[in-house]
């Protein structure tokens, strides 16, 4: 009997020892999807035949002694902006509901190459921006900790599927917080890697200069396993960095002694005020790091709105340019949230966009200066626990400055880490951020925290 909940690392150990077969594991996840997807709407397309075939291949390879590593035979899901050969990739939109790509995205090829078993395509906000929406061809994903709650977005299906045990890991994308937001609200680990570490080729874009591809999973260790497979240079993505990829899992020593962490409290105490539960949970997490031998000191940077504004402007202006032709001819084929956000974006001028890019450069320099004598910074990932799904304002991303957007602007590796639960049992999280291309230290700090605290032992009851 395969447990309902397994991490990638746990399942990999069982598969490598041949105590669990990829076929059994895949079948158990398909049964779970069958049982729970009607409540969660995490998947918009399940691929049982393809998953069974991939699992059988993995099993044959492993039985023949060709074990590839910790993703071999592991069921994963793909946000439905990751292109998949011969399988529709819709961006959760009527506008592209018939789009069938000819090739897999670069990262999908790499995940499959590492042995990952693709279970299906996961819900997203429309084109990774417009949501939660109830006027699209598929319903929005629901939070497994309370299905009346929002998952966060836009990697909403991955946020729902991982804690519910429908898959062991999945892909997300993060242009202003779309990995870390669902990570925070759904209580999972999600890393937005350094800009350029993972190729975006074959992923439907939201905004080319801010889009990041990355993994979401139950633990930092599982994110490290997935990131190992996803990272790497790709000439098809002009932003793809030609850098050596470290062994991310090897970096997970459990030791944070000597790490210097800057705590940006004003982001969530005054700039976008968090509720008491979030505030207390982050304070406790900072104390936990100190108890483990890291130094934590409060730092002050520009107000959050100064970081969020260039990010939102660049994101929405680039998205408008991408979708302009369809917006002019098929405006009401888009969902209301997406199309009205785009209509607002059209109000900015070309000069506004250029000023935003100039401001971005200044913010990059500011964070570099602030981190000169630090290894990491931490702050909130979201100001509260997940709100009710039907109470998310249409223009929420503009009403309060985003806590996650600063690190899209700077291209820094940033991760959501679960740091407790409200009395009602909803997850709380913080965000840990590193220097560009030091993703390994972010994962190491997140993993050490998870090992030292009890939060990874709790799953939603469904």
């Amino acid at each position: 009997m395969i447990p309902d909940f397994l991490t990638i690392a746990e399942a990999a150990k069982l598969i490598e020892k041949k105590e669990v077969s990829p076929v059994e594991l895949t079948q158990s996840r398909l049964q779970r999807i069958e049982k729970l997807n009607g409540q969660l709407h995490a998947f918009i397309r399940v691929l049982p035949d393809e998953a069974h075939a991939a699992a059988r291949t993995a099993e044959s390879e492993i039985m023949a002694g060709r074990y590839k590593g910790p993703l071999h035979g592991i069921p994963i899901g793909l946000k439905d902006i990751y292109e998949t050969a011969g399988i529709p990739t819709t961006g959760h939109s009527k506008v592209m509901q018939d789009h069938v790509p000819k090739a897999d995205a670069f990262t999908v090829t790499k995940l499959k190459g590492a042995g990952g078993v693709v279970m299906g395509k996961l819900a997203t906000h429309e084109f990774a921006l417009g949501g939660p929406s109830f006027d699209l061809p598929w319903p929005p994903a629901r939070n497994p900790w309370d299905t009346t709650r929002f998952t966060g977005g836009s990697s909403s299906g991955t946020g729902a599927a991982v804690p519910a045990g429908l898959v062991l890991g999945g892909t997300g994308s993060d242009t202003g917080g779309s990995i870390r937001g669902p990570g925070a609200y759904c209580g999972i680990a999600g890393i937005k890697p350094t800009y350029g570490l993972c190729s975006r080729a074959g992923i439907l874009p939201l905004a080319f200069s801010l889009d990041h591809a990355g993994p979401m999973a139950w633990t930092a260790e599982d994110c490290a396993i997935m990131l190992q497979a996803m990272a790497g240079h790709d000439p098809a993505d002009p932003a793809s960095a030609k850098v050596a990829i470290p062994d991310f899992r090897k970096a997970l020593t459990g030791d944070v002694k000597g790490l210097r962490i800057g705590l940006i409290r004003h982001f969530y105490t005054t700039d976008n005020e968090a509720n008491a539960a979030t505030h207390d949970a982050i304070d406790a997490a900072a104390k936990q790091y100190e108890a483990m031998g890291a130094s934590v000191r409060e730092i002050t940077v520009s107000p959050l709105a100064e970081w969020a504004a260039p990010g939102i402007m660049i994101m929405m202006a680039e998205a408008y340019a991408i979708h302009e032709a369809n917006l002019r001819t098929r405006f009401t084929d888009f969902g209301e949230a997406f199309r009205d956000r785009m209509a607002l974006a059209g109000l900015w001028t070309a000069s506004d966009y250029v000023q935003a890019t100039r401001r971005r450069r200044e913010m990059v320099d500011e964070l570099d200066r602030a981190m000169a004598s630090l290894d990491l910074v931490m702050t909130a990932a979201a100001p509260t626990e997940a709100p009710q799904i039907d109470e998310v304002p249409k223009f929420a991303i503009m009403e309060r400055p985003s806590l996650t957007m600063p690190f899209n602007v700077t291209g820094s590796p940033a991760m959501s880490v679960c740091c407790g639960f409200t009395e009602a049992g909803l997850p709380l999280s913080f965000q840990i951020v590193g220097k560009r291309f030091d993703d390994a230290t972010v994962l190491r700090a997140a993993d050490a925290y998870e090992r030292a605290t009890p939060w990874r032992g709790r799953r939603p009851s469904l």
């Binding site: 200069s209 709105a305 100064e306 504004a309 260039p310 939102i312 402007m313 917006l327 002019r328 405006f331 009401t332 209301e336 199309r339 009205d340 209509a343 607002l344 974006a345 059209g346 109000l347 900015w348 001028t349 506004d352 250029v354 000023q355 935003a356 890019t357 100039r358 401001r359 971005r360 450069r361 200044e362 249409k394 223009f395 503009m398 009403e399």
Partner: protein, 62 residues
């Protein structure tokens, strides 16, 4: 922005925004204006570059 300004902007953009959504755009236009204000700082004219492309050595096809 006023409703008239939003209507004019939507005509210029060529967007067929449903009537009931236009008043919401009027209400939300303050966010657009505030963000545009925030990114405009006093800068010397040469205070660039901002994400100027940097081409790798082999980009000429050599």
């Amino acid at each position: 922005m006023t409703r008239q300004e939003i209507d004019a902007a939507m005509v210029r953009l060529g967007l067929d925004v449903p009537e009931k959504e236009r008043d919401e755009l009027v209400g939300a236009s303050r966010y657009i204006e505030e963000m545009a204000r925030l990114v405009k700082k006093p800068r010397w004219v040469g205070a660039e570059p901002a994400h100027t492309p940097a081409f790798p050595p082999n980009s000429k096809g050599e």
